[in-house]
């Protein structure tokens, strides 16, 4: 395997790990709020989080450029202040992968939180626990299997992200070229040997993730 391919593999893993962590940080609280709280704008939040699941990834990527690009709503002020833009950096790949994977985690975790018996939460309240502590000690541990499954799906999705990553992070060898992009490039330039190596590597990695997730799930029940 070439140095570029190895670099792409390393980058892909790094992007997927960070995207999964970000997903957990954002997605688990979001899933909890959507499952347990009635707040204004809940339907809108639900819609926005789910949208990347149904939109073509390039459309999601386009919105990310509109938001975070050098001339974007958020990107422009940041660029004016610091002279730096997140676009075309490996952070952009993380953001793209996070947004694309979020609906999978949120929907799976939410489906696991919703059926947790509310009487258990009420019992925790009468025993002195705040809602925050109750979520940490009762609700989320009981929804653990679903949350773990959601994180596995999110990791797999982040690992395979292509369209939105290409839009926001580009395809800069050694910098933002993740494995799916590298495979595309290799096929385009006729380097079939490299393409096959990366395809096999990504397949093996995905199998390992699924097996580990299966073990975790089995232990939790």
């Amino acid at each position: 395997m070439s140095a570029d391919s190895l670099g792409a593999l390393g980058l892909s893993i790094r992007v997927a790990v960070f995207a999964t962590l970000l997903n957990a940080l954002l997605g688990i609280p979001l899933a909890y709020l959507l499952a347990r709280r009635a707040f204004r704008g809940r339907a809108l939040v639900d819609l926005l989080v789910t949208l990347p699941l149904v939109l073509p990834p390039t459309v999601t990527g386009y919105y990310l450029i509109v938001l975070l690009g050098r001339r974007g709503w958020l990107g422009a002020p940041v660029y004016a202040w610091t002279g730096w833009s997140v676009a075309f950096t490996w952070y952009a790949a993380v953001i793209a992968a996070t947004v694309m994977a979020l609906p999978l985690l949120v929907r799976t975790a939410r489906a696991a939180i919703e059926p947790v018996d509310r009487e258990l939460e009420k019992a925790a309240f009468t025993l002195g626990r705040s809602e925050w502590r109750t979520a940490l000690e009762v609700t989320l541990p009981l929804a653990r299997n679903g949350i773990v499954a959601g994180m596995v799906l999110a990791f797999a999705r982040a690992l395979g992200e292509f369209g939105a990553t290409l839009m926001l992070a580009g395809n800069i060898p050694g910098k933002t070229t993740t494995v799916p992009l590298a495979i595309y490039t290799a096929v385009q330039t006729g380097e079939m040997g490299e393409a096959v190596l990366l395809v096999v590597a990504l397949t093996i990695l995905s199998c390992v993730v699924l097996m580990v997730a299966g073990r975790l799930g089995a232990r939790a029940t």
Binding site: A123, F125, T126, L127, G128, S130, L142
Partner: protein
């Protein structure tokens, strides 16, 4: 009696309005009534899990809720133990962790000591490392009680604590629960829709119907002096009958019913003096109706009070007793569908008197066994 607990709340829901006021002293107050009468809703208001629209809740001079002054303690700060229907034990924690769950604020050593003490007193020793899923119904109930009692609550709430169990276990656990509640001496409010359970566990019974309290009384008083026909019916009393007043005196009351003149003792504590010819409801306990043996005369004239004659038109075998449905010989339509009076006789009596063969009998009812129900 000092009032340890006083409750006065209203709560309007889309299809239901709760509007109750009652108080209780030491011991166990049982909220009794049909499903959907607002009993569990009251418990949730007491625990702070639901906020009443208006009212006031005071436990041992501590105001938990007062809409007038804006007091509304959060459930975390009420020190109210709650035993949920189905127990709501934390399935991912061990028995020990469940019991110690409410003790988080205390130092570790104290927490462990308290949890161990509670488990010991409730006979849960040796089960601390089990999970709720591995326990029997009775053990689960004790864990739920232990978890609520461990925090040394000012008030203990129990929602249908025996309904998750099957019948034989239910009976033995009723006795056990009674012993635990008496032993710990914590003021408790228990919800049930089973009158036997209510009577056995209660010091005071509060009867709910349609979001209101229709009677609140010490249990013995309730048994003999239901406040109204509605209370008698909710208690499941049989032979709730309607007649007309002939003459009411402070100690006696004469009632005309099915062409008979019945004489009843008027209530000793609240003599009820309705004018003649007004409608009146009363009940006769089936086990207090006397069957007159044909082979023996009455010892004296007063022995066969309120004498009547009738035919057995239906019967049910309850094992230890037979329930007979009696239709009076007097003309006119029967007062309870196709019969007038339900009479209960012990199995032995049923067999000795050969009631299976002999269907026509004389009955008498002592005036003290006819209970007048004020309207």
């Amino acid at each position: 009696m000092s009032h340890r607990l006083s409750v006065e709340i209203t709560k309007r829901l889309p299809e239901f309005t709760l509007d109750v006021a009652w108080s209780a002293g030491d011991g166990v107050a049982v909220l009794f009534g049909p499903s959907g009468a607002g009993k569990t809703l009251t418990l949730q208001c007491l625990a702070g899990l639901i906020r009443p629209d208006t009212g006031r809740i005071v436990v041992d001079d501590r105001v938990l809720f007062d809409s007038a002054t804006g007091v509304d303690l959060r459930p975390q700060h009420r020190r109210v133990g709650y035993v949920f229907q189905g127990y709501a034990l934390f399935p991912h924690l061990t028995v020990g962790q469940n019991v110690a769950f409410g003790l988080r604020d205390r130092p570790r050593a104290e927490r462990l000591a308290r949890a161990a003490e509670v488990m010991e007193r409730l006979g849960l020793g040796g089960l601390e490392h089990r999970r709720p899923g591995e326990l029997s119904g009775g053990q689960r109930q004790r864990v739920a009680l232990g978890r609520a009692l461990a925090i040394d609550p000012a008030l203990l709430l129990l929602d249908e604590p025996l309904s998750a169990l099957d019948a034989p276990l239910r009976r033995s656990l009723r006795d056990e629960l009674r012993a635990i509640l008496r032993g710990w001496g914590t003021a408790a409010v228990l919800v049930t829709h089973d009158f036997t359970e209510a009577y056995q566990l209660a010091d005071r019974i509060v009867i709910y119907q349609g979001g209101r309290v229709i009677q609140s009384a010490p249990r013995a008083e309730l048994l003999w002096q239901p406040a109204s026909e509605a209370v008698a019916r909710i208690m499941g009393l049989r032979n709730v009958l309607h007649g007309r007043v002939v003459k009411a005196m402070p100690d006696r009351i004469q009632i005309s019913w099915r062409g008979l003149m019945l004489e009843a003792v008027n209530s000793p504590t609240r003599s009820y003096l309705p004018p003649p010819d007004s409608p009146i409801a009363f009940f006769i306990r089936p086990e207090y109706v006397r069957l007159i043996r044909k082979d023996r005369g009455a010892p004296d004239a007063a022995h066969h009070m309120n004498l009547m004659r009738g035919r057995i038109v239906g019967e049910s075998d309850f094992g230890t007793v037979w329930s007979l449905r009696l239709r009076l010989d007097a003309p006119g339509s029967p007062s309870q569908g196709d019969f007038d009076l339900e009479v209960e006789v012990p199995r032995l009596v049923y067999e000795i008197l050969e009631i299976e063969r002999d269907r026509h009998w004389e009955f008498s009812i002592h005036r003290g066994s006819i209970h007048v129900l004020p309207t």
